[in-house]
Symmetry: C2
Subunit: 339 residues, 2 copies
Amino acid sequence: MTRRTNPKLSDVARTAGVSLATASRALADPELVKAATRERVREVAAMLGYVPHGAARALATRRSRTIGAVFPPVDNPIFAAATQALAHDLAAAGYTLLLATHEYDPAGELGATRALIERGVDGLELVGMDHDPALFELLSRSGVPYELMWSLDPSGHHPCVGIAHRFASIRITQHLLDLGHREFAVIAGFTAHNDRARERLVGVREALAGRGIELRAERVFETKFSAPHGRRAFIELLGRAPGFTALVCGNDVLALGALTECVRRGIAVPQAISIAGFDDIDMAAEVTPALTTVRVPGAEIGRVAAARMLARLAGDEVPRQEEVPAELVIRQSTGRPPA
Amino acid sequence: MTRRTNPKLSDVARTAGVSLATASRALADPELVKAATRERVREVAAMLGYVPHGAARALATRRSRTIGAVFPPVDNPIFAAATQALAHDLAAAGYTLLLATHEYDPAGELGATRALIERGVDGLELVGMDHDPALFELLSRSGVPYELMWSLDPSGHHPCVGIAHRFASIRITQHLLDLGHREFAVIAGFTAHNDRARERLVGVREALAGRGIELRAERVFETKFSAPHGRRAFIELLGRAPGFTALVCGNDVLALGALTECVRRGIAVPQAISIAGFDDIDMAAEVTPALTTVRVPGAEIGRVAAARMLARLAGDEVPRQEEVPAELVIRQSTGRPPA
DNA sequence: TTGTACGCGTTATCAT
DNA sequence: ATGATAACGCGTACAA
């Protein structure tokens, strides 16, 4: 019934009555072999249930047809769309995605990356700019093509595809300022080891500073990217520094948490408090029309990253940096501050 | 600066002044080699930035330290928690996750699985019971240890870890029946090629049939698992067969969509319509207390799957089927039908 | 404790 | 168009 050992190419070759080389070519370079023998080899392979041995192939060709990706926790849905796009588009080109994650810690990320390089990935996708120097050293020593997703590199040193978080954040904040808001609060993601969260927060500060407004320290709360944490952060802000009319959230999951608490307390959104932020997972639009967001196109980032990587592996030249459009979505009832 | 070719073990050996075998052992079986030489080899390896060549190792050891997982689209957040748990727990044991996805189509799944097997995965995680027979044949021919996540196998034939969807669905429906509901509608996921969606729907039917109630065909709508689709489904149901007081949703994302439309229309939940369903991504609890759900523990499924796979690879015996607890969450304001 | 030598399954180079 | 054979880089008998 179940044969204990898998057929190898030499089995196929022998059964088909050809040499190893011919069998290999018949399956890999069909045009190099006479139609008749090609078909015979193929039939035998199918009949025997032959499955190529990837490790052997990788050893011989020095390519694994595997791309590695190192993400922060992927149960953070922010990255799910990109992961899906990567896996899908790479698969369409015959590549498979080797996925590793870490808990927003540089050491974990370094280890994960090393594991992927040991697996012989042909390319590597990373998230953001904040990395252990040892990671970059590892990358350059190994010579694996890599790129950084989600952010753009101010130094222009690393290949990357992403959005300009700070600029987007400035635009959001200016929009709120234009509506007349002067009292701001921010629920941000943890900014340590996370340039996206940091840049988004800095953007708020810069926009406010541009109008001579300072963001008070008690009006800023950093927390984990989850709705419950967003809600707790909002409660904390309301407790220790109430009076803000505009709340900028690091992303829509945090906004959802804040919004939930607004509903529970009967706080009118956006009449009493206007909530704005980044829409990382297209949730805000579904939950409420009361938000102003920059939509971060995770799927698009993944698609572009895949396309760029495939192009590089094919020997094409690709631009060092690629910005994907991040649309500012201003919904109708976007809220002025109470008079 | 950047050395173009990576150091191999023979480079390490030569530089350290030992043989290839000793170098290999110094890094892999440290206790088999004298402390002094072991350290010397290690230092040289670190200095040279030596990274083992996975393909060569896999070829020699016949193990890739890689586990494959084939998921429906992972931007469906239902599977994000499991993916994260798998990647994390496997990494802790020195394994890496090779991820492939498909668009809920048997052919795509088969191709993805084949790709993973070709990559030489040491084990394979799949989702659900619905698979192309050719997939099972491929699995048994290849001899790769596999297991099916999310569901339990009625035939007891396949190793699996999951929940009893039908039974959970019956419990939810009975709860609504006990509250006095008699007019039911269902928003289900597509049941083709998806035993989870099918079993959940069947559970509603069975529970109703047990009380002599039939679920009208116009009161059932199958759609994609997304909030916008859930909302559209709800609108459709309201249009073509209004009058239901209980709505069972295939999962919380669909419920969220329906709920959004309730809010827009001013339909009181749960006074006018009680919404219940499955909580695949722990969203319902955050959005509203008006839902009754069975919480599907995706992360736990992933953790158990990882543990079982690791145990099998270590040669341990594991139970053929493993059910993870799926808690019925009855929230306070769970809703009686309007008098 | 260490070294030698072979094998893992494929691709690729050279002949034929 | 096909065949023989040498890599690919590492693990592991087996020998010393």
